[in-house]
């Protein structure tokens, strides 16, 4: 008897849905994945819905509206394991870039910003509403990491490894010239690794899209960005808001 497939479902909240798209980029091997997992609910890709117990629920996107709390709680109740995937779900990601502003709604919607359907609180991680068992960070998530986590869950491994060293380590490992040595700036020294450092290798700074390492030295980061990277003081101080707004000391 073959092992029964793990029932998996996907759900999305405030996000760009790019992490779902990453899954379609596997190509033919995706068919192999279907030998191990059985998609039972996935609004963007399927019309089927399930009333059965979900073994693993993948949740993408940030928690930005109180109205979404009930939907998240329902997902939690229906599922054995909840995985937050993509940075929006893990930390609030890019959506949290508005969190320090008090006029974001007015700036975009003008006089209509008070209308109830445009309500949007601070962008928060999924874990602000429900218990999250595992996290797959990144903007977008790294599809190899996704497969690794799925593989561990399918095989019943409970501990999913998450690097706590910075992206700089991965640049050194692949012998990428440091962005600072190239006259640029970079957040690699405080950014959580695990992506393989593709951005500096492509000639652009790491923007810390997987968030910070544990206990980042933010003061030193601002100093390095200003003194070595040549960023004006104000930019150096606010640089890490792009993807790590909720992890900053001023959040």
């Amino acid at each position: 008897m073959p092992k029964p497939r793990v029932k998996v479902a996907w759900f999305d909240f405030a996000c760009c849905e790019g992490c779902q798209i990453e899954m379609t980029n596997f190509g033919e091997p995706f068919v192999q994945l279907l030998q191990h997992v059985e998609p039972v609910e996935f609004r963007e890709a399927m019309s089927e819905k399930t009333t059965e117990r979900i073994n693993v629920a993948f949740v993408e996107g940030s928690f930005t509206r109180e109205a979404d709390r009930a939907r998240l709680e329902e997902i939690r109740t229906r599922s054995d394991i909840v995985v937050a995937y993509g940075q929006c779900a893990v930390s609030g990601g890019i959506n949290a870039l508005k969190n320090h502003m008090d006029d974001y709604s007015e700036a975009v919607y003008g006089k209509d910003c008070k209308r109830p359907h445009l309500d949007s609180q601070k962008a928060l991680p999924v874990s602000a509403a429900i218990k999250v068992d595992y996290e797959i960070p990144g903007c977008p998530m790294d599809k190899a990491e996704f497969i690794r986590v799925v593989s561990q869950l399918v095989h019943g491994t409970t501990r999913v490894y998450q690097p706590s060293y910075p992206v700089c380590m991965e640049c050194k490992r692949r012998e990428t010239v440091c962005r600072y040595d190239d006259g640029d700036h970079c957040l690699g020294q405080v950014a959580r690794a695990g992506c393989g450092a593709p951005c500096p290798a492509d000639g652009i700074p790491c923007e810390a899209c997987r968030g910070f390492v544990d206990n980042p030295n933010e003061a030193a980061l601002a100093k390095v960005l200003h003194e070595r990277g040549g960023l004006p003081k104000k930019w150096a101080d606010t640089k890490s808001r792009m993807f790590a707004a909720n992890q900053r000391g001023d959040a």
Binding site: E17, C19, N25, G27, L34, M46, L97, C139, A201
Partner: protein, 446 residues
């Protein structure tokens, strides 16, 4: 004596983002017939304020995971217009190839994974993986090609890394030398040519299923880029085509005179209108406007599929997408040849010459996209505006509903069939609702 119909599709499946369909008919009278959009707003235009020009495209790319290449390119072009930057010919050629990759990638995803299940009566692609394994494998293979194609040029397809203000941060395939970069382009060209048999099989599949595409017509205005250089995707002026064949060209900097966003009391989303009550953007609009600029190989397939322009059937948007996908394969091969003939050069991105205001447009898979920014003298953004194609299409979807529902009632179509027909219509537009950076006015009647 008339019939009652109650259709309420909450969060329609197999579309990107969240939308609802509500149709209430009482005694044969339509009380409500609405396309509603309850997506969570995300405030990108506020978020770009205070960010440096080098960060803006990286932020607005995150508006949409499927059209992130297009958002990146429209954003870069707007910033470059504001910063007085003129990019090199090589940059334009490579960006064109990157844009083709995204359109191919997204169209394959839409046609195979989101639309095809309706045409074969399946709820999704997953059951087909067991019954039609070879077809699903082909779809995944083609999707993978789109990803590799875009990644070769842009670093990756979901939020590309290498496309930056002023050019590219590294050579194709992040090559350390121009020679290696050229080799990477040759390899990409071979991959594209090797995909032709899969495209032909897709053509045959589509031909066999074409009979299942609903026939419905509603002439409307079509809006899309018109480019002197090629079939409008990466660049051009705003082209508008009316049902009577009348054409108009508008400068991108005047995009607001075309989009004219407005709110209707009983409406569910913000509408856009130009010369008529609504207009359509997307593959069907582009093909109606630019048919004679299609690659001859794509035109051949269009003829084989019986596709004639102007086509006023919105359901045919999916067919138009496939024709465009084929066009992109052949055109990119030619664009690669052009880069190779000129010889790949290692170029440094062009620096800003001024700091002002500028707009940029690009065609994303779902239609024409506008970005506009203003920068202060230190290069920090003070204003952003993004108008996405799906928001331009909401009004047209609504107008289609208003013609289609009475026709369905007159033909006495059963309720489930009506519901499927409306869902398929929405899917045909390939809406990308999570792009809702902009104003959405939702007034629900409960």
């Amino acid at each position: 004596m008339g019939r009652n119909v109650n259709i309420s599709v909450h969060h329609i499946t197999r579309v990107e983002g969240h939308g609802n369909i509500v149709v209430n008919v009482k005694n044969g009278t339509i009380e409500k017939c609405e396309w509603q959009v309850p997506e969570a707003p995300r405030f990108f235009e506020a978020m770009v304020r205070g960010r440096h020009y080098s960060e803006v495209a990286r932020i607005t790319s995150r508006i949409c995971g499927i059209c992130s290449v297009g958002h990146t390119l429209a954003s870069l072009k707007a910033s470059e217009a504001a910063l007085g930057i003129e990019v090199s010919e090589q940059t334009v050629l490579l960006r064109r190839i990157l844009k083709h990759a995204e359109n191919f990638d997204s169209h394959i995803l839409h046609v195979y994974f989101l639309v095809a299940p309706d045409l074969v009566g399946a709820p999704s692609v997953f059951p087909l993986a067991a019954t039609h394994t070879e077809v699903v494998k082909r779809a995944l293979r083609m999707k993978r090609l789109g990803h590799e194609w875009g990644s070769c040029i842009g670093g990756r397809t979901t939020h590309p890394t290498r496309a930056v203000v002023g050019g590219f941060s590294s050579l194709p395939g992040a090559a350390p030398t121009v020679r290696q970069g050229e080799k990477n382009l040759v390899e990409l060209k071979q991959k594209l040519l090797a995909a032709v048999p899969d495209a032909v099989e897709t053509y045959k599949l589509l031909l066999s299923l074409a009979g299942n595409i609903p026939s419905f017509t509603r002439p409307t205005e079509y809006v899309g880029l018109v480019d002197d250089y090629e079939y409008g995707l990466y660049d051009g002026k705003i082209g508008c085509l009316l049902p009577d064949g009348k054409r108009e060209l508008v400068e991108v900097s005047d995009y607001r005179t075309v989009t004219n966003e407005y709110v209707v009391d009983r409406s569910t989303a913000k509408y856009a209108k130009h010369r008529l009550d609504s207009y359509m953007a997307g593959a069907l609009a582009r093909i109606n406007i630019n048919y004679n600029r299609l690659h001859p190989e794509a035109r051949k397939l269009a003829e084989g599929l019986g596709f004639k322009t102007p086509c006023f059937n919105p359901y045919m948007n999916s067919v138009a997408q496939f024709i465009e996908a084929v066009h992109s394969v052949y055109t990119s091969v030619e664009l690669i040849d052009r880069v190779l003939t000129k010889g790949l050069k290692d170029e440094t991105p062009v620096k800003p010459a001024k700091f002002a205001r500028g707009a940029g447009a690009a065609e994303v898979p779902r239609g024409i996209l506008f970005h506009e920014y203003e920068y202060d003298s230190d290069g920090f953004c003070t204003m952003g505006n993004c108008i996405i194609p799906t928001n331009q299409n909401h009004g047209n979807i609504q107008k289609d509903f208003e013609k289609l529902v009475p026709e369905m009632l007159a033909a006495n179509r059963p309720e489930p069939e009506m519901e499927l027909g409306l869902e398929m219509l929405v899917r045909a537009y390939d809406p990308c609702i999570s792009c809702s950076t902009h104003y959405l006015d939702v007034t629900f009647k409960r």
